[in-house]
Amino acid sequence: MKGEPMELKLTVNGKPYELKVKARTLLVELLRNELKLTGTKVGCLDSACGACTVNIDGKAVRSCSILALQANGREVTTIEGVAQSDKLHPIQQAMIDHGAIECGFCTPGMVMSARALLAENPTPTREEVREAIQGNLCADEGYVKYIEAIEMAAERMRGGK
């Protein structure tokens, strides 16, 4: 029936959920409004800014441009799921250490794009880092620091430090 909530099973940040959602619900709406995971930001809600980037099965995607039901059976990771207890993810730590975060609104999306990149490619070139965050707009134009921080994180994750 039109508008009737439908069953959705998915994993979010390692935790399995069985939910009922309206078919028109976007993944970002599920995450923020139902699961109260508000770390994922809504910038444009129009596939333009990348602030809503999450990882599905390890890949960076825009949660504003995917129906929640399309994540059925999949593994979603949001910014809340990247740290290990109180230890920040190396990408988060590098962004802090390098002073990459300005207003911070685009940061969760940047981290999720970078996380997907480094999982797939632990030794990215600068061009590859740039491409990975090409879809993440920063209104402060703080791209250089982000790129350098992601490179720093990559180095640390490879065991440099």
Binding site: M1, R24, G50, K59, V61, E131, Q134, G135
Partner: protein
Amino acid sequence: MIADFEYFAPKTVEKALSLVSQYKEEAKIIAGGQSMLIIMKQGLLTPEYLIDIKGIAALDYIKYDEGKGLRIGALTIHRAIEKSPVIQKHFGVLSETERNLATTQTRNWGTIGGNLCHGDPAGDPAPVLIALKAKLKLASLGRERTIEVEEFSKDYLEVALEPDEMLIEIQVPIPPPHTGAAYEKLMVMKGDMGIVGAAVSITLSPGNGVCKDARIALSNCASIPLRAKEAEQVLVGKTINDSLLTKAGEVAAAETNPPVDVHGSAEYRREMVKVFVKRVARIALERAKVG
């Protein structure tokens, strides 16, 4: 926001086809939804029934055969085409095109079939596939047909799918020897929709280097991906040089009926068609010489 609809997520082609044959015009098929959800959010598209085919694993494949050519399942994501070693080796232009198609996030979820069925004349894959003489396999319950990509677009956001049909496969033939192809588009920012774009494929006669065949297809220059047939004829049968490429660009520009928007007037787009046809044809020519 998005209006309510009834949602189905068939896991097989047969199930999907039986749903579209049941609901026809009242239903829309969604794959990755990277274009469709935008217009649904804008309220421009309000289907009663949404048939989500993204989960049909059988339509996610890239197959290459030296005789049959390249076959891409309609639900293959852009990122897979971009990264496919076999596509990079044999159809490099497709991989290059994908690199500038939107963003990594979009390419990770959006599908080649969804892109083609959306029918946006600014889309990148269609002109490239037209230049490569690709075909599409369409299916409805108990019936299949193939159609040239060139014949697929009918008007702005309108394609030649019957209400009970869906796109199954993209078929790209092996180009003849000494063929080169390229695609470039004018972007404000990498990954943008092209303000204009040009795809060119050139085949040279072995030995004398005369242009045996040429295909030129343009994005965002008309209400459909536009094949510039007159411009092709400027090149065919000739030994291509710079002034001939300039001429081809001019002829192509005259064939267009470009949209007008904040990114450019019709005059500007025509000027850019001249630039891009020449630039891209030159790349295709160089590739044909070594191909």
